[in-house]
């Protein structure tokens, strides 16, 4: 089902790793300067007209973000995820809003949640859901969610917890 499109991707682009074990889904990794071109090609020439989503994963250990453009072909009902690894430092990616106006919303979300820039994407710097967020983008793995929750949301009155080991000492061997 994918043989043709995958070999075309290999002919026209430097398609890297191909993965995916499900019958109707493949992932293909492409270099940063080819990803949007490949997405455009799949959209215009291979029937992957529907953008399912655009999302990111923070591979902090590698110093990279992985973006995935998930595309759907309504004719043969298959999906292709185009993956691209970009530098985590000053993370910037080419905007794809000329292909689908809706992708601007995903890009705006990624800008807010991961701090990935998409220059030229309409409204990309507007607040998405965080409204006035100035700190580290919260989906970055180095964002300390727990510390944030603790400092930002006061605890309800009457809360209190126990450390299991300390509690067991107090109950079972207080004087040792």
């Amino acid at each position: 089902m994918f043989d043709h499109v995958i070999s075309e991707l290999k002919n026209l682009f430097s398609a890297g790793e191909i993965s995916g074990t499900e019958a109707r889904l493949r992932f293909v990794t492409l270099p940063q300067n080819q990803a949007v071109k490949a997405v455009k090609y799949l959209n215009e020439k291979q029937g992957y007209r529907h953008l399912v989503l655009l999302t990111a994963v923070d591979y902090i250990e590698q110093g990279q973000f992985q973006l995935t453009y998930l595309l759907h072909n309504p004719e043969n009902r298959t999906d292709i995820g185009v993956r691209v690894l970009i530098d985590r430092e000053n993370a910037t990616m080419e905007s794809a809003h000329t292909l689908w106006p809706t992708i601007a919303t995903y890009q705006r979300e990624l800008r807010e949640m991961f701090g990935i820039q998409f220059p030229g994407s309409p409204g990309v710097d507007d607040d998405f859901i965080l409204e006035g967020w100035r700190g580290l983008p919260p989906y970055r793995r180095d964002f300390d969610t727990k510390a944030f929750a603790e400092s930002f949301f006061p605890q309800r009155e009457g809360r209190g917890t126990n450390d299991p080991a300390a509690f067991m000492k107090e109950k079972l061997y207080p004087n040792e």
Binding site: A149, G158, N162, A165, F167, K171
Partner: protein, 603 residues
């Protein structure tokens, strides 16, 4: 630019009055999807209060709270998670990480109440309408946030070890230790069960951070014999490890050994800061250089006391050296731990038997306090007919001779009576010696207890079999048959039960079901008793005793009714190494308290 529509619009809204309202009333009666993440439920009998759900919750929505009616006991903190739905975001991480699998989310998601405090409750304790819900989010079987399986320990295969005394367990590499340490959820449930209450999650953390020196320091706070315990500890802690509820418990013992193995003996003094102890002029005598005596010597030595240990035998270690075979605990590792204790200035007088070479009265006069930790070294006999034959031995004597390198009889066919660890030690030692001497093993070990209740560690039984011994549990010895002054074998009858309803030792037999184990040598290994004959009668009278005549001490200080005399180790509690270590530590603190109080009085 205004239009008529704009001017009229406020009135147009009015027509909505006559429409059906969009807001609908509860109950909606709409079910959540099957795996919807709604309110928590917790199987309160399964939950052990490990708090891992609380630690993982990014929203700090969980508190561990005490619950009336749930007792704190070994392996269960008695605490239970209480959820604050003002904070919970239904991520279900708490469900995914729950060590027992007790915590789940139901698919119930509607709940109306006007009192915000109602939205904090203890699932499984505070009754809720969804308590019996079966649908909702459960951890997927394929998803584990930590590996359930242990990192396997490399060891010698039976044919590589069955005819020699070289150490079987190879120890973790750094990479293996880091991976094993990474399985620990750092809950601390194990600490209460360890008799010495070692800081287990703390030293495992030190392994994860690759800070072996910090790990060594943490271990020495509660245990000055880590090379030894890292090899032969009975590892009670592992029986309660949270991770063991759904997977293999952490290899706590091997991780301890890893830490001690990493730090060379030459670095101990600087790592453990024993190069700058301030000495005082008070003297404490310790009787017996076993685990309890050495532990007390270490902690008193660190406090600056002058310590003299009186040891009857020619080397220190007690049962650790003279009971446990070399293939489980090599002598150089015993020496590493003991030499470090000696480096604090502790003196051991070898070959001095208190009661014979020096009296307890003398020790009382010459020292400020005495700690007696003389252990259990007198083998008990079954006293069945035939036991007075010269071919019948006590396991503990044979093990001592093996350590000392003295020759012992190794017959072609041997029967060992006993099902504890010492019985397995002599079984496996003799099996090796039979193989060396005859090229094959003909050895039967038999115990009263059936296999499921044999007191020996499981791995000891398994490994003894791998090495060629035959284990026959569930038989009671009746007579050692002797013909023409030669042992023919052991007659046994089936043992039906060992304990009565009150859990008292009271074996019942089926006399009609007999068996006979051929042998020309019999070894008894049914336990050891204390020999307290070094305590003169005038002193012994003053000690408090239980109904069986065992000496009682203060459980916190190990002080006896004679204020200057402290007692601990196997003669008081156990028997095992780690209890001895814990006793020695407590006695050291007890002695320090006693001597400080004494000095204040004198001043």
């Amino acid at each position: 630019m205004g239009t008529t529509k704009d001017i009229l619009s406020p009135f147009l809204v009015w027509k909505q009055f006559f429409r059906k309202p969009v807001t609908i009333k509860e109950p909606l009666k709409r079910q959540g999807a099957d795996r919807y993440r709604g309110f928590h439920i917790n199987d309160i009998q399964e939950c052990i209060g490990c708090g891992t759900c609380e630690s993982i919750c990014e929203n700090q929505a969980i508190d561990l709270v005490a619950v009336a009616g749930i007792d704190t006991k070994s392996g269960d903190s008695g605490l239970r998670p209480k959820v604050d739905y003002g904070r919970c975001c239904w991520c279900a991480l708490c469900v995914d990480v729950c060590t027992t699998g007790s915590l789940k989310l139901t698919n119930v998601f509607t709940w109306v109440d006007t009192d915000p405090d109602q939205f904090r409750y203890i699932p499984g304790v505070d009754a809720k309408p969804w308590d019996n819900a079966t649908k909702g989010y459960k951890k997927a079987a394929s998803l584990e946030l930590y590996p359930l399986e242990r990192i396997p320990m490399q060891h010698l295969h039976p044919e590589e070890r069955h005819d020699s005394f070289i150490e079987i367990i190879k120890g973790f590499s750094k990479e293996e230790a880091l991976r094993e340490a990474d399985r620990c959820v750092a809950c601390g449930i194990c600490t209460a069960t360890c008799p010495a209450h070692m800081g287990i999650p703390e030293y495992i953390k030190a392994i994860r951070e690759d800070n072996v020196e910090e790990g060594l320091r943490i271990m020495y706070e509660t245990n000055p014999l880590p090379e030894i315990c890292g090899r032969i500890c009975t590892h009670k802690c592992e029986t309660v490890c949270s991770v063991g509820h759904r997977g293999d418990p952490l290899s706590i013992r091997w991780l301890k050994r890893y830490l001690a193995d990493q730090v060379p003996a030459s670095a101990y003094a600087s790592v453990l800061k024993s190069d700058s102890i301030e000495k005082n002029n008070r003297k404490v005598a310790i009787i017996g250089a076993g685990p309890a005596g050495l532990s007390a010597a270490y902690y008193l030595g660190m406090m600056g006391y002058q310590i003299t240990v009186f040891e009857k035998l020619s080397a220190a270690g007690g049962m650790m050296r003279f009971g446990i075979p070399e293939y489980r605990l090599p002598y150089d590792q015993i020496d590493k731990d003991i030499n470090y204790i000696l480096s604090l200035g502790v003196e051991i007088k070898y070959g001095v038997s208190v009661g014979k070479d020096i009296t307890l009265e003398q020790l009382e006069k010459e020292y400020d306090a005495v700690f007696a930790a003389t252990g259990l070294h007198d083998g008990r006999s079954t006293r069945i007919p035939g036991t007075n034959h010269s071919g019948v031995y006590q396991s503990i004597e044979l093990l001592r001779k093996i350590t000392l390198g003295e020759p012992i009889e190794v017959a072609e066919k041997i029967v060992v009576i006993g099902g504890g660890n010492v019985a397995m030690d002599i079984t496996r030692s003799l099996a090796r010696m039979q193989r060396q001497k005859y090229g094959k093993v003909q050895l039967i070990a038999t115990s009263l207890e059936t296999e499921d209740i044999m007191p020996a560690d499981r791995e000891e039984v398994v490994e003894a079999r791998e090495e060629g011994a035959i284990i026959y549990p569930g038989w009671g010895p009746r007579e050692i048959i002797v013909e023409n002054d030669r042992i023919k074998g052991l007659k046994v009858v089936q043992c039906l039960s060992v304990f009565d309803e009150q859990k008292r030792f009271s074996p019942k037999f089926d006399e009609s079901n007999e068996n006979f184990f051929e042998a020309d040598m019999v070894v008894e290994s049914i336990g050891q008793g204390a020999n307290l004959s070094y305590i003169p009668a005038s002193y012994f009278e003053q000690l408090e005793k239980d109904h069986r005549g065992r000496v009682l001490v203060d459980t916190l200080t190990f002080q006896t009714k004679l204020p200057w005399l402290f007692m601990g180790g196997d003669i008081i509690e156990g028997p095992d190494v780690i209890h001895g270590i814990a006793n020695g530590h407590k006695a050291a603190k007890g002695i320090d308290q006693y001597l400080n109080a004494n000095r204040e009085e004198k001043q």
